[in-house]
Symmetry: C2
Subunit: 332 residues, 2 copies
């Protein structure tokens, strides 16, 4: 049965450490169905693959589509990845190693699949459909538990030879700073991630300087989420605001450094911290850029907040595979 | 008279603050003639244009070529520039402002001309013909009186919307650091440029810790050139070596940060300091990269020394205009 080319659908998939999301898009990238599921990475890669397939299948069922109507599947997930071969080299969040996800999905669905770093996929989504729409050079900065970065340059994800890059959170900002999860010292993440902020706020709470935090979250870092930070600041907790502002300024300084290197026209701020505290992050990043970028760049950089939320990743992944398939089709 | 397409020559031009260099290349980018002249920027843009034209004309005469045999002229020079329109927006080194150099040269020689930032031109030269040959992503780091950077990504100079970028020396490394020539504080240039090194070495000399420097250069920063630093270190002056190594390490740390962002396959080190002190710079940048890049990048980055010297700029500028003209020719 010949596939109806006028009915080409794309699957965007976001494979996170805790949950997965499949969204089916029509050819105009309108979402027609979506399905969520817990990732349960600890059950291993094969069980994970089963869950991924079940999630895609159910999304297709909801959309009343057969796999033959799917033009391609794009998956955003944390790395490191081999982008060309579509292999999960190692994923700390999932616990999977050397897993040929692209190949498995292509075999199952008989259509092209592509992997992308999750932050790249999110930045690409914002570039195609959100706050960074149409920018020539779009820098995505996503501070959350870690601090991710992505770069879209002249329509494509900027990448390494085989892997993704833009390790924004691992720029060294303090030569003798705290130990980072990456094994090195003084990375931006150690002073400005949600985790670093939570650690500083927990100390303040312990010392009695942040009673709102003490009452609503205590001194457990896992409980000091972005939302409770926002509530504490709204309730007038100055110590918390000071800590968050300082972290935002550090992210701003790092962003300004990157701006001096790559001269983006748009900086898109996203991630958990920015969603909860967009005013402070916009303020501080804006101020740092104004203060620190070269004269030739002043006024040429728009700083904005991501507008697609959780959809950025699936939309970006779907657009990425669509570009690849369409590019191949045009080329062939 | 129809131009012989099989005899297409390119002019590469390097417009520096103190001297200018024109080189004529044949279609295989073999240099067939070159001419140098002092820049004398202070005499103004129009006098400067006369000197540029005289230099190109004399190089063509030496090569026994007529302007009709020139396919295009590429000029590398310090910015900021409007790359698309080919305008020198402002050049501190030359003292010229809003000068339409591209238009002037195109009118004079009746062939396409293009401007490029001098460091970009040099990096492009090393990418096409030198130490970075054929790299997918080539980062050029050129520490001298300032610290320039250039990036070639998938065959093209990475650039801003209208201007060049990769302001490597103006990454902020010390929030409360020394005042920089750019007007901001704590830029890498304030701790690791030839000028910053000279200032530190002059202090050491003044205190009696660098007798070789005191004897051969004194405490005048203008006299403490890269070559005398190298001689002092060769003669066993430990204080000078310590200062230079520390600066090289700072450049290494900054390079590692940029590597974590853009994942280059080749880092080309050049410029006055590296030419005179390549061992120390290779050592320290290598060590910093090994220590600081993410696990996924370890082993994927080659650090090398520029191999074309002063020719990098003219070769890169010539190749750049050739690419533009050939691209247009193929496209049209």
């Amino acid at each position: 049965m010949p596939v109806d080319q006028s009915k080409k659908y794309w699957v965007g998939f976001d494979l996170g450490g805790t949950k997965m999301l499949a969204t089916v898009f029509d050819e105009k990238f309108k979402p027609v169905a979506r399905k969520r599921r817990k990732t349960k990475g600890a059950e291993g890669a094969n069980a994970g693959l089963e869950r991924i397939i079940r999630t895609i299948d159910e999304a297709l069922e909801i959309a009343q589509l057969s796999p033959a109507q799917v033009g391609g599947i794009g998956i955003g997930l944390p790395g490191p990845l081999d982008l060309d071969q579509g292999i999960i080299i190692e994923s700390a969040n999932l616990g999977w190693e050397n897993f040929k996800l692209k190949q498995e999905l292509e075999r199952r669905y008989k259509c092209p699949a592509a992997l992308a770093n999750d932050v790249d996929a999110g930045t690409f989504g914002e570039y195609r459909f959100g706050s960074g729409k149409g920018g020539r050079c779009v820098l995505g900065v996503f501070p959350g538990t870690g601090i991710g970065g992505g770069l879209i340059y002249e329509g494509k994800i900027f990448r390494g030879k085989t892997t993704s890059c833009m390790e924004f959170g691992h720029m060294m900002v303090e030569p003798k700073g705290k130990l980072c999860g990456c094994g090195r010292r003084g990375c931006l993440e150690t002073v400005a991630s949600r985790l670093a902020i939570a650690a500083e706020v927990a100390m303040a709470a312990y010392r009695g300087e942040a009673p709102f935090i003490m009452e609503h979250a205590g001194t457990d870092l896992s409980e000091i989420r972005s939302s409770v930070l926002a509530e504490a600041i709204s309730s007038g907790e100055k110590a918390v605001e000071k800590i968050v502002r300082n972290a935002a300024r550090r992210i701003g300084d790092a962003t300004a450094n990157v701006c001096n290197l790559i001269a983006p026209d748009v900086v898109v701020l996203g991630g958990g911290l920015v969603e909860a505290l967009s005013g402070i992050f916009l303020d501080e990043v804006h101020a740092a850029i104004n203060k620190r970028v070269m004269d030739s760049l002043v006024g040429s950089i728009t700083v904005t907040v991501a507008s697609l939320g959780d959809d950025a990743g699936v939309m970006g992944a779907a657009a990425l595979i669509a570009d690849q398939v369409e590019g191949v089709r045009k080329g062939g």
